[in-house]
Protein backbone atom coordinates (compact mmCIF):
# COMPACT_ATOMS: atom_id res chain seq x y z
CA UNK A 1 0.00 0.00 0.00
CA UNK A 2 1.14 3.50 -0.64
CA UNK A 3 0.69 6.65 1.31
CA UNK A 4 -2.06 8.99 0.17
CA UNK A 5 -5.16 10.53 1.69
CA UNK A 6 -6.27 9.28 5.07
CA UNK A 7 -8.67 6.44 5.76
CA UNK A 8 -11.93 6.83 7.64
CA UNK A 9 -10.71 6.22 11.17
CA UNK A 10 -13.95 5.00 12.76
CA UNK A 11 -15.05 2.79 9.88
CA UNK A 12 -11.66 1.17 9.49
CA UNK A 13 -11.22 0.69 13.21
CA UNK A 14 -14.70 -0.79 13.72
CA UNK A 15 -14.35 -3.11 10.74
CA UNK A 16 -11.05 -4.60 11.85
CA UNK A 17 -10.26 -4.23 15.53
CA UNK A 18 -12.18 -7.17 17.04
CA UNK A 19 -11.03 -9.62 14.39
CA UNK A 20 -7.47 -8.39 14.70
CA UNK A 21 -7.47 -8.88 18.47
CA UNK A 22 -8.93 -12.37 18.12
CA UNK A 23 -6.28 -13.24 15.58
CA UNK A 24 -3.47 -11.97 17.80
CA UNK A 25 -4.91 -13.72 20.85
CA UNK A 26 -4.79 -16.94 18.93
CA UNK A 27 -1.19 -16.34 17.97
CA UNK A 28 0.09 -15.21 21.33
CA UNK A 29 -2.25 -16.62 23.95
CA UNK A 30 -1.91 -13.31 25.71
CA UNK A 31 -5.02 -11.10 25.65
CA UNK A 32 -3.21 -7.94 26.74
CA UNK A 33 -0.41 -8.41 24.28
CA UNK A 34 -2.93 -9.19 21.53
CA UNK A 35 -4.70 -5.89 22.12
CA UNK A 36 -1.37 -4.08 22.09
CA UNK A 37 -0.42 -5.62 18.76
CA UNK A 38 -3.81 -4.81 17.25
CA UNK A 39 -3.56 -1.21 18.42
CA UNK A 40 0.03 -0.91 17.26
CA UNK A 41 -1.00 -2.17 13.80
CA UNK A 42 -3.81 0.38 13.60
CA UNK A 43 -1.52 3.14 14.82
CA UNK A 44 0.90 2.33 12.03
CA UNK A 45 -1.88 2.29 9.48
CA UNK A 46 -3.23 5.68 10.48
CA UNK A 47 0.09 7.15 11.58
CA UNK A 48 1.58 6.50 8.18
CA UNK A 49 -1.56 7.68 6.42
CA UNK A 50 -1.82 4.59 4.27
CA UNK A 51 -4.86 3.85 2.18
CA UNK A 52 -6.26 1.06 0.07
CA UNK A 53 -9.39 -0.97 -0.53
CA UNK A 54 -11.10 -2.36 2.60
CA UNK A 55 -9.82 -5.83 1.69
CA UNK A 56 -6.32 -4.51 1.10
CA UNK A 57 -6.34 -2.60 4.38
CA UNK A 58 -7.52 -5.67 6.27
CA UNK A 59 -4.82 -7.85 4.73
CA UNK A 60 -2.20 -5.19 5.49
CA UNK A 61 -3.30 -5.00 9.12
CA UNK A 62 -3.16 -8.76 9.64
CA UNK A 63 0.17 -9.01 7.91
CA UNK A 64 1.56 -6.19 10.02
CA UNK A 65 0.21 -7.86 13.16
CA UNK A 66 1.84 -11.13 12.14
CA UNK A 67 5.18 -9.38 11.82
CA UNK A 68 4.71 -7.56 15.09
CA UNK A 69 3.97 -10.76 16.96
CA UNK A 70 7.12 -12.24 15.52
CA UNK A 71 9.00 -9.14 16.54
CA UNK A 72 7.66 -9.17 20.04
CA UNK A 73 10.32 -7.13 21.74
CA UNK A 74 9.59 -4.14 19.57
CA UNK A 75 5.97 -4.04 20.58
CA UNK A 76 6.61 -4.64 24.24
CA UNK A 77 8.59 -1.45 24.54
CA UNK A 78 5.63 0.45 23.08
CA UNK A 79 3.32 -1.44 25.36
CA UNK A 80 5.19 -0.23 28.42
CA UNK A 81 4.98 3.28 27.07
CA UNK A 82 1.25 2.97 26.46
CA UNK A 83 0.65 1.58 29.92
CA UNK A 84 2.56 4.46 31.41
CA UNK A 85 0.51 6.94 29.40
CA UNK A 86 -2.96 5.46 29.67
CA UNK A 87 -4.73 3.90 32.63
CA UNK A 88 -6.32 0.57 31.67
CA UNK A 89 -9.95 0.27 32.70
CA UNK A 90 -10.96 -2.66 30.47
CA UNK A 91 -13.54 -5.18 31.63
CA UNK A 92 -14.86 -2.87 34.34
CA UNK A 93 -18.45 -3.62 33.29
CA UNK A 94 -18.22 -7.40 33.65
CA UNK A 95 -19.29 -9.31 36.72
CA UNK A 96 -16.58 -11.38 38.43
CA UNK A 97 -18.39 -14.60 37.41
CA UNK A 98 -18.53 -13.53 33.78
CA UNK A 99 -14.89 -12.58 33.77
CA UNK A 100 -13.96 -15.92 35.31
CA UNK A 101 -16.05 -17.79 32.76
CA UNK A 102 -14.42 -15.92 29.90
CA UNK A 103 -10.99 -16.45 31.31
CA UNK A 104 -11.56 -20.20 31.64
CA UNK A 105 -12.87 -20.49 28.10
CA UNK A 106 -9.94 -18.54 26.76
CA UNK A 107 -7.52 -20.68 28.75
CA UNK A 108 -8.83 -23.88 27.16
CA UNK A 109 -8.52 -22.47 23.63
CA UNK A 110 -5.14 -20.95 24.45
CA UNK A 111 -3.83 -24.26 25.75
CA UNK A 112 -5.01 -26.02 22.60
CA UNK A 113 -3.41 -23.41 20.35
CA UNK A 114 -0.17 -23.79 22.28
CA UNK A 115 0.10 -27.31 20.86
CA UNK A 116 0.56 -25.84 17.38
CA UNK A 117 3.72 -24.47 15.84
CA UNK A 118 3.76 -20.67 15.39
CA UNK A 119 3.23 -21.01 11.64
CA UNK A 120 0.34 -23.46 12.05
CA UNK A 121 -1.24 -21.04 14.52
CA UNK A 122 -0.90 -18.13 12.09
CA UNK A 123 -2.48 -20.10 9.26
CA UNK A 124 -5.31 -21.41 11.43
CA UNK A 125 -6.11 -18.01 12.90
CA UNK A 126 -5.98 -16.25 9.55
CA UNK A 127 -8.22 -18.84 7.95
CA UNK A 128 -10.80 -18.40 10.70
CA UNK A 129 -10.50 -14.63 10.38
CA UNK A 130 -11.82 -14.99 6.84
CA UNK A 131 -8.73 -14.72 4.68
CA UNK A 132 -8.20 -16.49 1.38
CA UNK A 133 -5.36 -18.97 0.96
CA UNK A 134 -3.51 -16.47 -1.19
CA UNK A 135 -3.72 -13.77 1.46
CA UNK A 136 -2.62 -16.24 4.12
CA UNK A 137 0.33 -17.34 2.00
CA UNK A 138 1.36 -13.75 1.46
CA UNK A 139 1.12 -12.82 5.14
CA UNK A 140 2.95 -15.78 6.63
CA UNK A 141 5.43 -16.40 3.82
CA UNK A 142 4.16 -19.72 2.50
CA UNK A 143 3.52 -20.96 -1.02
CA UNK A 144 -0.22 -20.84 -1.74
CA UNK A 145 -0.12 -24.54 -2.52
CA UNK A 146 1.12 -25.27 1.00
CA UNK A 147 -1.68 -23.50 2.84
CA UNK A 148 -4.12 -26.43 2.58
CA UNK A 149 -1.58 -28.88 3.98
CA UNK A 150 -0.63 -26.54 6.81
CA UNK A 151 -4.24 -25.76 7.62
CA UNK A 152 -5.30 -29.41 7.66
CA UNK A 153 -2.47 -30.25 10.05
CA UNK A 154 -3.24 -27.23 12.25
CA UNK A 155 -6.94 -28.11 12.45
CA UNK A 156 -6.18 -31.71 13.33
CA UNK A 157 -3.77 -30.75 16.11
CA UNK A 158 -6.10 -28.11 17.48
CA UNK A 159 -9.06 -30.49 17.44
CA UNK A 160 -7.03 -33.23 19.13
CA UNK A 161 -5.89 -30.82 21.83
CA UNK A 162 -9.44 -29.57 22.44
CA UNK A 163 -10.72 -33.13 22.67
CA UNK A 164 -7.92 -33.92 25.10
CA UNK A 165 -9.29 -31.10 27.26
CA UNK A 166 -12.77 -32.62 27.11
CA UNK A 167 -14.17 -30.36 24.39
CA UNK A 168 -15.90 -32.08 21.49
CA UNK A 169 -14.80 -30.94 18.03
Amino acid sequence: MQRASTLDFDATFDANYDALVRYCRGLTGDPDFAEDVAQESLCRLFGNELRGSPIGVRAWLFKTATHLVRDRHRVESNRKRLLEQHHDVSAEGDSPERRLERAEARAVVRAALAHLTPRDREVLMMRYSGFSYREIADAVGLASSSVGTTLARAERRFADAMQGAGEAV
Binding site: D14, W60, K63, H67, R127, L151, E155
Partner: protein, 242 residues
Protein backbone atom coordinates in the same frame (compact mmCIF):
# COMPACT_ATOMS: atom_id res chain seq x y z
CA UNK B 1 -7.36 -42.16 -7.97
CA UNK B 2 -6.69 -42.82 -4.29
CA UNK B 3 -8.83 -41.16 -1.65
CA UNK B 4 -8.41 -37.45 -1.04
CA UNK B 5 -6.04 -36.45 1.74
CA UNK B 6 -6.93 -33.98 4.49
CA UNK B 7 -5.27 -31.07 2.69
CA UNK B 8 -7.35 -31.65 -0.42
CA UNK B 9 -10.52 -31.90 1.64
CA UNK B 10 -10.00 -28.60 3.48
CA UNK B 11 -9.06 -26.94 0.20
CA UNK B 12 -12.34 -28.09 -1.35
CA UNK B 13 -14.28 -27.21 1.79
CA UNK B 14 -12.88 -23.67 1.71
CA UNK B 15 -13.62 -23.21 -1.99
CA UNK B 16 -9.91 -22.90 -2.77
CA UNK B 17 -9.42 -25.99 -4.93
CA UNK B 18 -8.22 -25.37 -8.44
CA UNK B 19 -7.82 -29.01 -9.46
CA UNK B 20 -10.98 -30.34 -11.21
CA UNK B 21 -9.82 -33.93 -10.66
CA UNK B 22 -10.43 -33.57 -6.93
CA UNK B 23 -14.05 -32.54 -7.46
CA UNK B 24 -14.47 -35.34 -9.95
CA UNK B 25 -13.19 -37.90 -7.47
CA UNK B 26 -15.48 -36.52 -4.82
CA UNK B 27 -18.55 -37.00 -7.00
CA UNK B 28 -17.84 -40.70 -7.30
CA UNK B 29 -16.56 -41.44 -3.79
CA UNK B 30 -18.99 -41.68 -0.92
CA UNK B 31 -16.18 -42.18 1.63
CA UNK B 32 -14.51 -38.89 0.67
CA UNK B 33 -17.86 -37.09 0.68
CA UNK B 34 -18.40 -38.30 4.23
CA UNK B 35 -14.93 -37.08 5.21
CA UNK B 36 -15.65 -33.72 3.58
CA UNK B 37 -18.81 -33.44 5.68
CA UNK B 38 -16.70 -34.16 8.77
CA UNK B 39 -14.20 -31.51 7.72
CA UNK B 40 -17.04 -28.98 7.38
CA UNK B 41 -18.36 -29.89 10.81
CA UNK B 42 -14.92 -29.62 12.32
CA UNK B 43 -14.42 -26.24 10.64
CA UNK B 44 -17.66 -24.90 12.08
CA UNK B 45 -16.72 -26.14 15.55
CA UNK B 46 -13.27 -24.56 15.36
CA UNK B 47 -14.72 -21.31 14.10
CA UNK B 48 -17.09 -21.23 17.04
CA UNK B 49 -14.30 -21.98 19.49
CA UNK B 50 -11.95 -19.37 18.11
CA UNK B 51 -14.42 -16.56 17.71
CA UNK B 52 -17.22 -17.21 20.20
CA UNK B 53 -15.20 -17.84 23.28
CA UNK B 54 -12.47 -15.35 22.87
CA UNK B 55 -14.48 -12.59 24.45
CA UNK B 56 -15.04 -9.19 22.95
CA UNK B 57 -12.29 -6.66 23.45
CA UNK B 58 -13.21 -3.23 24.69
CA UNK B 59 -13.17 -1.58 21.29
CA UNK B 60 -14.30 1.82 22.52
CA UNK B 61 -11.47 2.06 24.99
CA UNK B 62 -8.98 0.80 22.42
CA UNK B 63 -10.22 3.27 19.84
CA UNK B 64 -9.83 6.15 22.27
CA UNK B 65 -6.36 4.95 23.14
CA UNK B 66 -5.26 4.69 19.49
CA UNK B 67 -6.73 8.09 18.71
CA UNK B 68 -4.95 9.67 21.68
CA UNK B 69 -1.68 8.11 20.67
CA UNK B 70 -2.00 9.31 17.07
CA UNK B 71 -2.86 12.81 18.24
CA UNK B 72 0.10 12.81 20.60
CA UNK B 73 2.51 11.53 17.98
CA UNK B 74 1.31 13.95 15.33
CA UNK B 75 1.62 16.88 17.69
CA UNK B 76 5.14 15.87 18.67
CA UNK B 77 6.30 14.57 15.28
CA UNK B 78 8.85 17.21 14.24
CA UNK B 79 10.55 17.34 17.61
CA UNK B 80 10.51 13.56 18.10
CA UNK B 81 11.83 12.86 14.66
CA UNK B 82 14.62 15.33 15.07
CA UNK B 83 15.59 13.76 18.37
CA UNK B 84 15.22 10.25 17.02
CA UNK B 85 17.27 11.09 13.99
CA UNK B 86 20.07 12.55 16.05
CA UNK B 87 20.08 9.43 18.20
CA UNK B 88 20.02 7.19 15.13
CA UNK B 89 22.85 9.13 13.55
CA UNK B 90 24.92 8.73 16.68
CA UNK B 91 24.20 5.00 16.76
CA UNK B 92 25.05 4.70 13.08
CA UNK B 93 28.31 6.50 13.66
CA UNK B 94 29.23 4.29 16.57
CA UNK B 95 28.18 1.02 15.00
CA UNK B 96 29.74 1.82 11.63
CA UNK B 97 32.96 2.85 13.32
CA UNK B 98 33.01 -0.18 15.57
CA UNK B 99 32.15 -2.60 12.79
CA UNK B 100 34.77 -1.03 10.57
CA UNK B 101 37.43 -1.84 13.12
CA UNK B 102 36.48 -5.53 13.37
CA UNK B 103 38.66 -7.76 11.19
CA UNK B 104 36.54 -9.39 8.52
CA UNK B 105 33.72 -6.90 8.91
CA UNK B 106 31.81 -6.27 5.66
CA UNK B 107 31.30 -2.62 6.59
CA UNK B 108 34.40 -1.34 4.78
CA UNK B 109 33.12 -3.21 1.74
CA UNK B 110 29.72 -1.59 1.99
CA UNK B 111 31.22 1.84 2.33
CA UNK B 112 33.84 1.69 -0.36
CA UNK B 113 35.57 -0.54 -2.87
CA UNK B 114 39.34 -0.63 -3.21
CA UNK B 115 40.15 2.40 -1.14
CA UNK B 116 38.20 1.52 1.98
CA UNK B 117 37.62 4.51 4.12
CA UNK B 118 36.13 4.79 7.60
CA UNK B 119 32.84 6.51 8.17
CA UNK B 120 33.10 10.16 8.96
CA UNK B 121 32.33 11.48 12.40
CA UNK B 122 28.70 11.93 11.37
CA UNK B 123 28.45 8.29 10.36
CA UNK B 124 28.03 9.25 6.73
CA UNK B 125 30.42 8.34 3.96
CA UNK B 126 31.28 11.32 1.80
CA UNK B 127 31.26 9.76 -1.65
CA UNK B 128 28.99 7.31 -3.44
CA UNK B 129 31.25 4.33 -3.91
CA UNK B 130 30.34 1.20 -5.79
CA UNK B 131 31.08 -1.97 -3.89
CA UNK B 132 31.54 -5.63 -4.58
CA UNK B 133 30.44 -7.57 -1.52
CA UNK B 134 28.18 -9.71 -3.67
CA UNK B 135 27.80 -10.16 -7.38
CA UNK B 136 26.64 -6.77 -8.62
CA UNK B 137 23.10 -6.89 -9.98
CA UNK B 138 22.78 -5.82 -13.58
CA UNK B 139 20.39 -3.00 -12.82
CA UNK B 140 22.70 -1.49 -10.24
CA UNK B 141 24.23 1.82 -11.34
CA UNK B 142 27.96 2.38 -11.28
CA UNK B 143 27.77 4.77 -8.35
CA UNK B 144 25.80 3.17 -5.54
CA UNK B 145 26.05 1.61 -2.12
CA UNK B 146 24.90 -1.89 -1.35
CA UNK B 147 22.64 -2.51 1.60
CA UNK B 148 22.54 -5.88 3.34
CA UNK B 149 19.06 -7.38 3.18
CA UNK B 150 17.73 -9.16 6.25
CA UNK B 151 14.17 -9.82 7.35
CA UNK B 152 13.69 -6.05 7.66
CA UNK B 153 15.03 -3.29 5.46
CA UNK B 154 14.74 0.32 6.60
CA UNK B 155 15.70 3.06 4.17
CA UNK B 156 15.90 6.78 4.91
CA UNK B 157 16.27 9.35 2.15
CA UNK B 158 17.07 12.81 3.47
CA UNK B 159 17.58 16.33 2.16
CA UNK B 160 15.76 15.70 -1.10
CA UNK B 161 14.16 18.78 -2.62
CA UNK B 162 10.37 18.61 -2.19
CA UNK B 163 8.71 17.31 -5.32
CA UNK B 164 11.82 15.63 -6.64
CA UNK B 165 11.19 12.01 -7.53
CA UNK B 166 12.60 9.06 -5.63
CA UNK B 167 12.45 5.98 -7.82
CA UNK B 168 12.20 2.45 -6.43
CA UNK B 169 13.02 -0.51 -8.65
CA UNK B 170 11.70 -3.85 -7.37
CA UNK B 171 14.37 -6.39 -8.28
CA UNK B 172 14.57 -10.13 -8.63
CA UNK B 173 18.03 -10.31 -7.03
CA UNK B 174 19.00 -10.48 -3.39
CA UNK B 175 20.86 -7.21 -3.01
CA UNK B 176 19.51 -3.76 -2.24
CA UNK B 177 21.30 -0.65 -3.37
CA UNK B 178 21.01 3.12 -3.27
CA UNK B 179 22.20 5.51 -5.94
CA UNK B 180 21.86 9.24 -5.37
CA UNK B 181 24.17 11.09 -7.68
CA UNK B 182 27.12 13.36 -6.92
CA UNK B 183 27.46 14.87 -3.49
CA UNK B 184 25.28 12.27 -1.81
CA UNK B 185 26.34 10.90 1.55
CA UNK B 186 25.53 7.38 2.66
CA UNK B 187 25.41 5.46 5.90
CA UNK B 188 24.70 1.74 6.22
CA UNK B 189 24.20 -0.02 9.53
CA UNK B 190 22.20 -3.02 10.69
CA UNK B 191 18.96 -3.30 8.80
CA UNK B 192 18.98 0.32 7.75
CA UNK B 193 20.62 2.73 5.39
CA UNK B 194 20.47 6.50 5.14
CA UNK B 195 21.27 8.65 2.14
CA UNK B 196 21.41 12.42 2.09
CA UNK B 197 20.88 13.48 -1.47
CA UNK B 198 20.63 17.22 -1.96
CA UNK B 199 21.50 17.17 -5.67
CA UNK B 200 21.00 14.02 -7.62
CA UNK B 201 18.10 11.86 -8.63
CA UNK B 202 17.61 9.10 -6.09
CA UNK B 203 17.16 5.49 -7.16
CA UNK B 204 16.70 2.55 -4.85
CA UNK B 205 16.98 -1.09 -5.89
CA UNK B 206 15.03 -3.33 -3.54
CA UNK B 207 14.72 -7.11 -3.88
CA UNK B 208 11.17 -8.38 -4.13
CA UNK B 209 12.20 -11.05 -1.65
CA UNK B 210 12.76 -8.52 1.16
CA UNK B 211 10.27 -9.58 3.81
CA UNK B 212 9.55 -6.09 5.14
CA UNK B 213 10.59 -2.74 3.76
CA UNK B 214 10.07 0.73 5.12
CA UNK B 215 11.01 3.88 3.24
CA UNK B 216 11.04 7.37 4.69
CA UNK B 217 11.72 10.44 2.59
CA UNK B 218 12.50 13.68 4.37
CA UNK B 219 11.25 12.12 7.58
CA UNK B 220 7.90 11.02 6.20
CA UNK B 221 6.98 7.36 5.84
CA UNK B 222 6.02 6.82 2.21
CA UNK B 223 6.05 3.05 2.04
CA UNK B 224 5.87 0.16 4.47
CA UNK B 225 5.28 -3.45 3.58
CA UNK B 226 6.48 -6.00 1.09
CA UNK B 227 7.24 -5.34 -2.54
CA UNK B 228 4.70 -3.33 -4.47
CA UNK B 229 3.36 -6.01 -6.79
CA UNK B 230 1.00 -3.63 -8.54
CA UNK B 231 3.76 -1.30 -9.68
CA UNK B 232 5.15 -3.34 -12.55
CA UNK B 233 8.61 -3.30 -11.04
CA UNK B 234 8.92 0.46 -10.52
CA UNK B 235 7.39 2.87 -8.05
CA UNK B 236 7.99 6.61 -7.95
CA UNK B 237 7.53 8.68 -4.79
CA UNK B 238 7.55 12.48 -4.99
CA UNK B 239 9.64 13.76 -2.08
CA UNK B 240 7.46 15.42 0.56
CA UNK B 241 8.52 18.64 2.22
CA UNK B 242 9.66 18.72 5.82
Amino acid sequence: MTHLDDAALVTIRDGESTDPRLEEHLRGCAACRARLAEARKRGEAIESMLSGRAGTPDAALAKARVRRRLDTERAAAPRLFSRAFRRAAAILAMSAGAAYAVPGSPVPGWLGRGESRPASASGLSEAAPAVGVEATPEAMPQEAVLVPVGPRLELFVEEVAPGREVEVLWLEGSTAWISAGPGARYSVAGAGATVRAPNGPVRLGIPRTAAWVSLRINGRMVFEGTSDESSGGRTVFPAPGR
